[in-house]
Amino acid sequence: MNQPGHQVVVTGVGIVTSLGVGRAAHQAVLSASQAPAPVTDSEQFAPYTIHPLPEIDWSQQIPRRGDQRQMENWQRLGVFTAGLALDDAGLKDDAERCASMDMIVAAGGGERDVTVDTLIVEEARSRNDREVLLNEKLTTELRPTLFLAQLSNLLAGNISIVHKVTGSSRTFMGEEGAGVSAFETAHARIAAGQSTHCLVGGAFISERFDILLVVDAMGLLQSGETRPFWSRTEETGGINLGTGSAFLVLESLEHAEARGATIYARLDSVIGDRGSREADRLEQRMADLADQVAPGATGAGTLIVSGATGIPGLSARERDFLAGRFPEASTCSQAALLGHCIEAQFPIGMALASLAIAQDGAVCPFTDGTNAPMNAAPATALVTTVGHQRGEGLARLSALRS
């Protein structure tokens, strides 16, 4: 699906996870001599374990208090991380290039007012005119600005306001697949000459009861005693949600070179698909993706950043497929270290892969034991995402050797 045309390169990386804020913090993780300990919180949302937001000084990227107040943490995190990416690409103060920059954001929904929702639920239990109560309470209790903090496309809207990125603004939704489609679309547009530079990414906050509900309605969250990623069972559930955001600046090679940008990696190909997961249909689809994205590859010199969710059966199927298809590759499980970040999962994987390719020397395994270490910087990275319910994606990034 990816046509030859303009080459697409990564020139800016903004990343925030439970392990820290910014590119340098994550480069330190990737180049460490041993796997870092995940940062988790098993108490605040017990019986669930989540990976929390690191300490952030929002005003570093969102200078106006008024702007900060118009958002809740989901939008703040995305706007903050988008700012990091623009800074990293050397475009933060380039008004002209921001004004012509395209943008695709992978989004879910923003925070609800749990206090108001609880008030209504509690009062409704003793009323038989619940819908009238609802009208009354929502009218008097809802904060007008909260609607805007909940709206999916207002993460992008706030990036326009705070960072003046206004070439275009598109918001993709649909859980993990949104992150894949965002990169697939941005890549296709730049490759075809429809865009020269594009900000792509997403954000996800696990520290929300309302978001835990969205995933655990299917009983997919790991609960009770914390368990290592590959030791979870169907009975105890599989997913620990993460908190994180990644935004990348993608550019055509010509556009990047003309302004003397630093290039992390070339984004060769990115494709998503979906369909039944019965029998071996998932594996067949993954094989088709691999045929298109990395034809003939065995994984030599390749780092695979796997976005496996932690759902035991599904994650094992992906692991087995990757081991069979790319036997020489080293695979890192992103969620084992950072938790699963739904819409932001694929963008975070893309950020980590870009940093790994650009670094000197060995890449640290994300977790001890199950992930093979990588003794030199990878020439190629593959990024996978297998959505917790639907949607799969695969991308290939390469070192751009002159």
């Binding site: 609802l134 326009s160 697949g177 949104a178 296709a188």
Partner: protein
């Protein structure tokens, strides 16, 4: 036809529309909708879906005549989209797997309040502690609920459409607020121009009218409170306009490269000639007062189409009937069209169907194409007290017979979203 006849001014594949389907509060299907629209009928009515006591706005253009198995916005949005897609594919003469990508504009999803109340009832007495979500989590963790789960996933609607119609690849579900329908079409046009596909299914749907949706927009003072005469509430470009009327609907357009469409003998309904977009950084809900981004969006669409403003014969306005939008839209249009402005007819479908939000851009693209096909301009109804600050030829109150060969359609939304489409009649 020579090869170059299939390429546009930039050497890209020309994108044809070969199938259309539409649902609004006026009815199901293009034929019923067009008959109502050209006779100046309003689909806006008093809400009966839920009690409206204590609400400042009690009117809407809800679509209540399509059966859904469960009353929630995912089921409604899916059902509307399914119906318009069936209509569009039939018109396009396509059956079996569609075999191209799906671009879906769909509303952001949250649990329905009825579902929250239902969960609340399932919480045992001795577990009624903590916040509402802690209580719901305890219930669902003990007993997962796949039906509730699917009703709160953003990817549910495109998943079902993809299965039903055999689209290819990972569907895109998108939101650019009230510009979403236009963005879905733009994504389809881009995919065909990229050479990634010969055809694309572009769908926009919105079945999300609820009490909370009304209240949220009311708190932003965005809605008309003209409750007593619902059919008169949406009155774009008038002095009395007091907000938009929230509504539901859906539209599907089958896009194909002109070459592929003609090769299979399809009837070409029109050409998607140009798309433009530009974000606004002025404010979360308000547009730049000078209309700068809207002007840039219209210019971008014209440039993409390779047309000058002189060739545009009719404008399908965003025309929401809010004080601010209509003023800003006039400012933008009059800047682009200059002295010609009084001579270019501009009408707002929203005067009759209300604001179908996520679906609006695509619904209005269908009506724009139908305008060219039939040579009839739909009116702006309720145009009884024109705003003198907006001196437009609004096609007041009564349809007009007029052959046009190119139409411009605007869509603007919260979050600084602006999109514009240029459509032309099929080449003779």
């Amino acid at each position: 036809m020579t090869k170059s006849a299939y390429r546009d001014h930039l050497g890209r594949p020309i994108v044809a529309v070969t199938g259309m389907g539409v649902v609004t509060s006026l009815g199901q299907g293009l034929s019923d909708n067009w008959a109502a629209l050209t006779s100046g009928r309003s689909g806006i009515h008093t809400i009966t879906r839920f009690p409206t006591e204590k609400l400042s706005t009690r009117i809407s253009g809800t679509v209540d005549f399509i059966d859904v198995p469960v009353p929630n916005s995912v089921e409604r949005s899916y059902a509307f989209a399914r119906e318009t897609t069936l209509e569009a594919l039939t018109q396009a003469g396509l059956s079996g797997d569609f075999g191209g990508p799906l671009f879906l504009a769909a509303p952001p999803i949250e649990p329905e309040w009825s579902a929250r109340f239902d969960l609340s009832d399932r919480v045992p007495q001795d577990q009624r502690r903590g916040n509402a979500y802690q209580q719901f989590l305890a219930v669902l963790h003990a007993r997962p609920d796949p039906q509730f789960y699917e009703a709160i996933q953003f990817g549910s609607i495109s998943e079902r459409l993809a299965d039903r119609f055999g689209t290819r690849g990972l569907p895109v579900t998108l939101s650019t607020a009230c510009a979403s329908g236009a963005t879905a079409i733009q994504l389809g046009v881009e995919a065909i121009r990229q050479g990634r596909t010969e055809r694309a299914l572009t769908v926009a749907t919105d079945g999300s009218v609820s009490a909370e949706a009304l209240i949220r927009f009311s708190l932003l003072s965005a809605l008309s409170t003209h409750n007593d005469q619902p059919e008169k509430a949406s009155k774009p470009f008038t002095k009395d306009r007091d907000g938009f009327v929230i509504a539901e609907g859906a539209a599907t357009l089958v896009l194909e490269s002109l070459e592929a469409a003609l090769a299979r003998g399809a009837r070409v309904l029109g050409i998607l000639t140009g798309c433009g977009e530009k974000a606004d950084h002025f404010h979360r809900t308000r547009s730049s007062p000078d209309g700068g981004p809207a002007i840039a969006t219209i210019h971008a669409a014209l440039a993409d189409a390779g047309l000058s403003e002189e060739s545009i014969g009719y404008i399908n306005a965003h025309g929401t009937s809010t004080p601010e939008n209509d003023k800003m839209e006039y400012q933008a249009l009059s800047t682009v069209f200059g002295e010609r402005m009084p001579n270019v007819p501009v009408s707002s479908n929203k005067s009759m169907i209300g604001h179908t939000l996520t679906a609006a851009g695509a619904v209005e693209a269908v009506f724009s194409l139908q305008t060219m096909i039939t040579g009839v301009l739909p009116p702006t109804i309720n145009y009884d007290n024109p705003d003198p600050a907006i001196p437009l030829d609004a096609v007041p109150n009564v349809k007009r017979d007029k052959a046009v060969t190119s139409v411009l359609s605007n869509s603007f939304g919260f979050g600084g979203q602006n999109a514009c489409l240029v459509m032309t009649a099929e080449p003779a």
